[in-house]
């Protein structure tokens, strides 16, 4: 199918929107546009970070998901309480693939569902007493836990519990950080506010509360890498090869101590801007630590990023950076030689969280693939601004796209592969469109770094060129 022109895409948007009742259509209109890289900013053509319309089937989650699921959950030596009824913690238990080392239940508590399992009486009489008791029990049951976070589910903010007071009291009693987070799911409009609230609580309770054993001029922190399928490890290793010292990982495979001591970093390296720009800005203001956004998806962007990072350091690091780039060239070329011919010209639609809708574009382009549509579940305008130049001319851009819209767009544009989440996956596969989950890497990964790109290329080939899709039509049905 030939690619749709700008005009045709504009028409497609109107056609799709026609199905909505008036009020919803007027709102949804503000979330869809066709990209023009010449534009300076998206504020005129797009509204983002707005409430989802009721009843439309948004893919978005909630603030709890942003705090417990994304930012805090991966911190491995702390216990994260899903505070409230059993559900939220149950569904987010062990499904995000933020890998970490250690032994579950002994020194590592990431893949555990620790909950106050609220019953009716807790709703009626309040849950503070229970929370207090629970925290004492955590200390007994998990002696190696270095701290505790309280991740509020919806009811907490509605029944007037004072989790801050409990946290303060218990923190003093047990002599460990206990962090209350007001990330009830009804706050904000998506996961995004949860990221922000979680960042604020790191700032208020953790950051700067311990000093590192030593310090060097080459100390950096990785901010906003959740180690999905080992992403942060595959990034860390590049930074180490460059002669830098990664003193903290936020927050994939992260620890309390790393977060406490990050204020001694010389440079903060921000991968997922959306979920952690807040803390980076704070460290800049309070500690004067500069921060730099980088992109470790695909050799082109990695190369650019490695140079940009090295430019913040001395000649020694810069020379090493060139060595690193040179040392991976051959291998990367071999990967491209194998996969580019199989993927060249293939069209891609994306719909991911707050970073990847723009950050992975370069990696696809390295493979000769073209992005024809992309959008964020919970991006803000600054994310879309950052997307303007990354996405090509006439790329369809959709914010908080509904299931209805995304299906209609895909039906009309027939991409060769779609990258989105598990809720979308099976829908598009039924439509005969190959799919990769781009939150969880579809149980693969890492995709970050040089090592990750090899896997990314392999996986895209696996999806796009899966023989099964070509068998869709029963041979006895004539063409």
């Amino acid at each position: 199918m030939p690619a749709l022109s700008k005009q045709e895409k504009q028409e497609l948007i109107s056609e799709v929107l026609a199905a909505y009742p008036e009020e919803a259509r007027a709102e949804r209109e503000k979330h869809l546009y066709v990209n023009d890289p010449e534009m300076e900013s998206t504020t005129k053509c797009l509204t983002a970070n707005r409430k989802s319309q009721p009843g439309v089937m948004t893919a978005r989650g909630c603030a709890y998901a942003g705090s417990k699921g994304v930012v805090w959950g991966p911190v491995k030596d702390m216990v994260h309480i899903s505070h409230g009824p059993v559900g939220c913690g149950q569904y987010s238990w062990g499904t995000r693939r933020n890998y970490s080392t250690g032994s579950t239940g002994i020194d590592n508590f990431v893949v555990m569902q620790v909950t106050s399992d609220f019953q009716e009486r807790d709703i009626v009489f309040g849950g503070d007493k229970k929370l207090e008791q629970m925290i004492r029990e955590i200390k007994e049951i998990f002696p190696l836990a270095k701290g505790i976070t309280i991740q509020s589910e919806c009811p907490i903010g509605l029944i007037g519990d004072d989790i801050e007071a409990v946290a303060k009291r218990m923190s003093a009693e047990l002599n460990m950080p206990i962090v209350p987070v007001r990330c009830e799911g009804f706050r904000g409009v998506s996961q995004s506010l949860g990221h922000h609230l979680a960042n604020d609580t790191v700032r208020d309770h953790v950051l700067g509360t311990a000093e590192p054993a030593d310090s060097t001029d080459y100390d950096v922190a990785i901010i906003g890498d959740y180690n999905i399928g080992g992403d942060a490890w595959a990034s860390r290793i590049i930074l180490e090869e460059m002669g830098l010292r990664v003193i903290a990982q936020w927050s994939g495979d992260g620890t309390l101590n790393e977060m406490q001591t990050t204020h001694k970093a010389k440079l903060n390296l921000v991968h997922c801007y959306r979920s952690m720009n807040y803390i980076a800005r704070h460290m800049e203001e309070k500690y004067g630590i500069p921060w730099l956004e980088y992109n470790f998806f695909g050799p082109t962007k990695i190369e650019e990023s490695v140079r940009a990072i090295a430019a913040k350091f001395d000649k020694k690091v810069q020379d090493k950076a060139e060595e690193v780039i040179a040392s991976h060239k051959g291998r990367m070329q071999a990967v491209l030689d194998k996969y580019r011919p199989r993927l060249e010209g293939k069209k891609v639609m994306l719909y991911v969280g707050g970073l990847r809708p723009r950050h992975v574009i370069g990696a696809y382009e390295d493979l000769g693939m073209e992005i024809i549509g992309t959008g964020y579940e919970f991006g803000h305008n600054d994310d879309y601004d950052r997307t303007l130049k990354e996405a090509g001319d006439a790329t369809l851009i959709y914010d908080d796209v509904t299931a209805y819209e995304l299906e209609a767009f895909a039906e009309n544009m027939r991409p060769d592969v779609i990258g989105a989440g598990v809720k979308e996956k099976y829908v598009f596969q039924k439509m005969g469109i190959p799919f990769r989950q781009m939150h969880s890497w579809d149980y693969s990964g890492p995709y970050h770094g040089y090592d990750g790109f090899e896997i990314f290329a392999r996986d895209m080939d696996m999806a796009v060129n899966a023989p099964a899709y070509k068998l869709m039509k029963a041979p006895w049905k004539n063409a």
């Binding site: 909630c62 569902q113 049951i141 829908v427 039924k430 090899e454």
Partner: protein
């Protein structure tokens, strides 16, 4: 060149020396405990003292084996033709429910939320319901919308009935458009309770105005319940009923929508119980609920009192379980159990004797929903296996008491104990102090199974980490062969893996 590439993903990459070094070096920044400290704590968590502390927990729940009400509600709702599950409340829950089912069934799962936010927390979700029903109706063109609620809506006390009435007044949906509803507070009961409540809501609403006929229509109703094996089981039960010549109506038949072909189109509504069938169900001769825990209160009361029907709740799992179920069905319908089913029974029994030696006397632990846990335990005892720990986080004390009594009266079961209200962290302690030969349950048992090196037989919900199991029935005589196959082969795999000299080709 291609061979030379040898791409390693997360399963091999991090075993490489350079990554091991990198991770080792990271420990300094982590202030990671020393090996000694870790080993000391590990040993402590395996001690009797620790077990006592663990069982002394009064407020802390760790790794429970249950989910919340609305999950069950939308599972039931998905079983009706053209029905769009709608969850009134904050939107995050719905995203979680949907992905939970996606991961288990590897299928799409449609459901909408009306996305209540902070203003709704103050003023209630009235406006959200009006706009939500309107948008959902316009976009997804359902034949019915089934409304359940998240704990947010429940805590602020939203009145679903009144809101839906008002939405109809505001013309969000036509006045005669069915919008059944159920309040599904997640701080009461569990996912099976939600199934019960939503099913009752739908059955009640759709049969309003349906006259109770003087004579029944000869059909039987089947309620499958909250079952991770719904696809295989509903198909199997329908096959059995056909063999018996029994005319049936499956109430909440989600076996098609969760098992659609890849044919180039996505069909959001792909079969299920029709509104007409539900109407006819009111005048059926009897209702058979296959999972008693899924119909415990609301649905049972509706069918017994309002529909004035015979109501049976028993699970056709295992030999005696299937026998009893078929006999009851035969008794109620007057249809004979056909020779073909008797042949199937014989084959199942044959398989049981083939595998007997690997199962007799084997000690096992099991966790999951009460109906499944009990029926599976009964079945394993038919194989001569001995239950040791039965962990059920939901369920009732009454149920546990009756089950414990039954166990104590069985020569195979007398060493077993039901731990109702316990969680998987309790189970870990139990399995350390009294080890077993195999564990039965959902994917969530994976950690314990791995740590204690015990095979995990995946029967339960959710199963995220194995494919296609839900397509196989666990019910009926064919279900016996499936359960048996999974179990005995897992035991044999374990035996082969641990064998030092005995590498027999024949087992």
């Amino acid at each position: 060149m291609q061979e030379a590439l040898n791409i390693k993903d997360h399963n091999g990459l991090f075993e490489l020396e350079r990554y091991k070094e990198s991770q080792e070096a990271k420990k300094a920044f982590e202030k990671w405990p020393t090996e000694d400290e870790i080993e000391k704590v590990r040993a402590y968590t395996c001690s009797d003292e620790y077990k006592e502390k663990n069982f002394g927990r009064t407020a802390l729940t760790i790794n429970p084996a249950k989910a919340c009400q609305p999950l069950g509600a939308i599972f039931a709702a998905a079983g009706f033709d053209g029905c769009l599950p709608y969850v009134h409340g904050s939107q995050g829950c719905t995203a979680y429910f949907r992905s939970h089912f996606n991961r288990h069934f590897k299928e799409p799962f449609a459901a909408v939320s009306d996305s209540m936010t902070e203003d709704a927390a103050v003023f209630g979700g009235h406006k959200n319901m009006i706009a939500g029903l309107k948008n959902a109706y316009a976009l997804y063109k359902p034949k019915m919308i089934a409304v359940s609620s998240t704990c947010m809506a429940e805590v602020i006390g939203d009145d679903l009935n009144a809101f839906i009435k008002n939405a109809k007044k505001a013309e969000s949906v036509p006045a005669d458009f069915p919008v059944p509803f159920a309040h599904t507070p997640s701080f009461v009961g569990s996912h099976v309770t939600g199934y019960d409540n939503m099913l009752k809501g739908i059955l009640f609403q759709l049969t309003q105005g349906v006259e109770k006929a003087p004579a029944d229509n000869g059909k039987v109703n089947i309620i499958p319940g909250f079952d991770g094996f719904a696809v295989g089981n509903i198909q199997e039960i329908k096959r059995i009923l056909k063999l018996m010549g029994v005319d049936s109506i499956v109430l909440a038949d989600n076996s098609d929508v969760l098992d659609t072909p890849l044919d180039g189109t996505y069909k959001m509504y792909a079969g299920g119980t029709t509104i007409e069938e539900v109407k006819a169900a009111k005048n059926a001769r009897a209702t058979f609920a296959l999972l008693p825990d899924s119909v415990e209160k609301a649905t049972k009361t509706l069918i017994k009192d309002e529909w004035a029907q015979q109501f049976f709740a028993s699970i056709p799992l295992g030999l005696a379980g299937t026998d009893a179920w078929l006999m009851k069905l035969s008794e109620v319908t007057g249809k004979e159990i056909p020779a073909e089913l008797e042949r199937e029974r014989g084959k199942a029994l044959d398989a049981m004797t083939d595998s007997n030696y690997y199962l007799h006397g084997k000690r096992f632990a099991i966790f999951g929903d009460p109906s499944y846990a009990e029926a599976l335990t009964d079945f394993y005892m038919e194989l001569g296996a001995e239950p040791v720990h039965i962990v059920v986080t939901n369920g009732s004390k009454k149920w546990a008491k009756a089950f414990n009594k039954k166990l104590s009266e069985s020569s195979f079961g007398k060493g077993g104990k039901v731990h109702q209200g316990a969680d998987l962290w309790h189970l870990r302690s139990l399995m350390i102090s009294e080890p077993v030969d195999f564990l039965v349950g959902s994917t969530h048992g994976k950690q314990i199974a791995k740590e204690l090196d015990v095979p995990l037989i995946r029967i339960g919900f959710p199963i995220f980490d194995r494919h296609h199991l839900h397509r196989y029935p666990t019910f009926g005589y064919r279900g016996i062969i499936n359960i048996l196959t999974w179990t005995v082969n897992a035991i044999l795999d374990d035996l082969d893996r641990k064998a030092t000299f005995n590498n027999d080709f024949v087992r």
